[in-house]
């Protein structure tokens, strides 16, 4: 029962988020500004991610997908 109660409480919390977002749509002018875009120019940022992927051991959790051995 405590688990079910916790689940209901958790979902009620989510409901609260759904019903009254703490940042109202009319307060999102700054967030809608293109300078706040994480990937403002996909073709350009994809290329830079490829540059790193080909020269570093780490990969993933970025934006690049696609092929090529990158072994040059």
């Amino acid at each position: 029962m405590p688990i079910r109660l916790s689940a209901i409480l958790f979902l009620l919390t989510l409901q609260a988020c759904s019903a009254t977002p703490w940042v109202k749509p009319y307060e999102r002018a700054h967030l809608a500004d293109p300078i706040m875009n994480f990937e403002r120019n996909p073709v350009s940022s994809n290329y830079l991610h490829h540059v790193y992927d080909a020269r570093e051991g780490a990969r993933g959790a970025g934006v690049a997908t696609g092929g090529g051995c990158g072994c040059n």
Binding site: W22, D33, L48
Partner: protein
């Protein structure tokens, strides 16, 4: 049983109802129609890679859009690996991709296919992505899957043909924190299976029977690899219309590589039409378990590598960019456009990869380092 079944059923019904309504989303939107023509150039460490990339994205109606991309790498390589164990070469890589976005009942789905062809490597990648906004559009949840099939060849050896398969599983959560702060949490697991070596690279081992003191043998990699990466990125709107960004990524894999990436960025509009970007990136990684700059004997271990990409090293990137917007609020075919130039200087410093162009007692050669310049010049049109 402590509770009666109807109560239990009611609980489940309530849970389902809450779950359903909590995840009621608001409408997603299709990406904007745009076209980009980019010239890219990487130059450093004896390697020059340049070429165009052209991207076109078009909506067919309110529910379907498509993106196509054509990308070319023209490679001229005399890198440290090439000049110490092989001959300089030139080659060409072409990559074409298409993706289709479907907007259906508040869910945005994307399917993509990419094909990359060069004379010794053929890669096909299929990707699927699903994203949905939740909680009054404060949250965007995305998940994706990609599968790549690679055929590995070797120049000058028509009989050499190996296969490798890559799978990737991605999850990301984008969250509005305040009216000025956005955060994204991303997680990706990748698995590889097959021939994962670079077919041209060799390891060196001590050999007193030759004057130089060492000899070479081909690398041997494991034929499986699993990696995990988790990244947290944030973007903050400053009081005077500028944006500050920061990010951190933690990476780990079954080859023993652990890496950390830190990113900082600053975007500053200037007057009506100009936009400046400044960035700094710091990357550091540990070597793979089977990496060594100099093995003690031939076949010292089952797996052997001397790829500098698997060594212990750091890289730092200093970036700057400028963008000029034109035909703002334009009418007719073109709504607006930007002309953009970005330059990134990358400094690579290796901690256990030595420069074999210098003659010295094996294992005492200077550590290798190089700088690279990356140019991105592109025109973007929204229509």
């Amino acid at each position: 049983m402590y509770y009666s079944r109807p109560v239990t059923r009611s609980c489940y019904a309530l849970l389902l109802l809450l779950l359903f309504t909590a995840f009621q989303s608001h409408a997603e939107v299709l990406p904007e129609d745009r076209a980009d023509v980019l010239y890219h150039r990487f130059s450093g460490g004896g390697v020059t890679i340049s070429g165009p990339s052209i991207l076109v994205r078009k909506k067919f109606n309110e529910k379907v859009s498509a993106t196509v991309n054509h990308y070319v790498d023209n490679v001229s390589s005399a890198s440290i690996d090439v000049i110490t164990t092989a001959s300089p070469y030139t080659e060409n890589r072409k990559e074409n991709s298409i993706s289709v976005n479907f907007l259906e009942d508040k869910t945005l789905m994307s399917m993509g296919y990419t094909r990359s062809i060069e004379n010794d490597f053929d890669a096909s990648t299929l990707s699927l992505n699903l994203s949905q906004t939740l909680f009054g559009e404060l949250t965007t949840f995305s998940m994706g899957y990609a599968e790549g099939d690679n055929i590995v060849g070797r120049r000058g050896d028509a009989n050499f043909k190996e296969n490798a398969n890559t799978r990737s599983y991605r999850l990301s959560l984008s969250q509005i924190i305040t009216k000025d702060l956005l955060m994204v949490l991303a997680f990706e697991t990748m698995t590889d299976q097959g021939f994962l070596n670079n077919p041209y690279r060799s390891v060196r081992y001590l050999n007193n029977l030759v004057p130089i003191g060492y000899s070479y043998q081909p690398e041997v990699y494991p034929n499986t690899r699993t990696s995990h990466a988790i990244a947290l990125r944030a973007r903050y709107y400053l009081p005077y219309r500028a944006a500050l960004s920061g990010g951190y990524r933690l990476f780990t894999d079954t080859w023993g590589i652990n890496a950390h990436t830190f990113e900082l960025g600053y975007t500053l509009p200037f007057r009506k039409d100009w936009l400046f970007d400044f960035s700094y990136r710091f990357y550091t990684q540990d070597k793979a378990d089977f990496y060594s700059d100099l093995f003690q004997t031939a076949d010292e271990f089952i797996f052997l590598a001397r790829d500098k990409e698997l060594s212990t090293f750091t890289s730092q990137t200093l970036g700057a960019g400028v963008s000029l917007e034109f035909k703002k609020n334009g009418t007719g075919l073109i709504k607006r456009g930007t002309l953009n130039f970005n330059y990134d200087l990358i400094l690579f410093d290796y901690e256990d990869f030595r420069d074999l162009t210098v003659n010295a007692t094996p294992g005492t050669e200077p550590l290798y380092s190089f700088n690279a310049g990356v140019i991105r010049l592109f025109l973007s049109i929204w229509y």
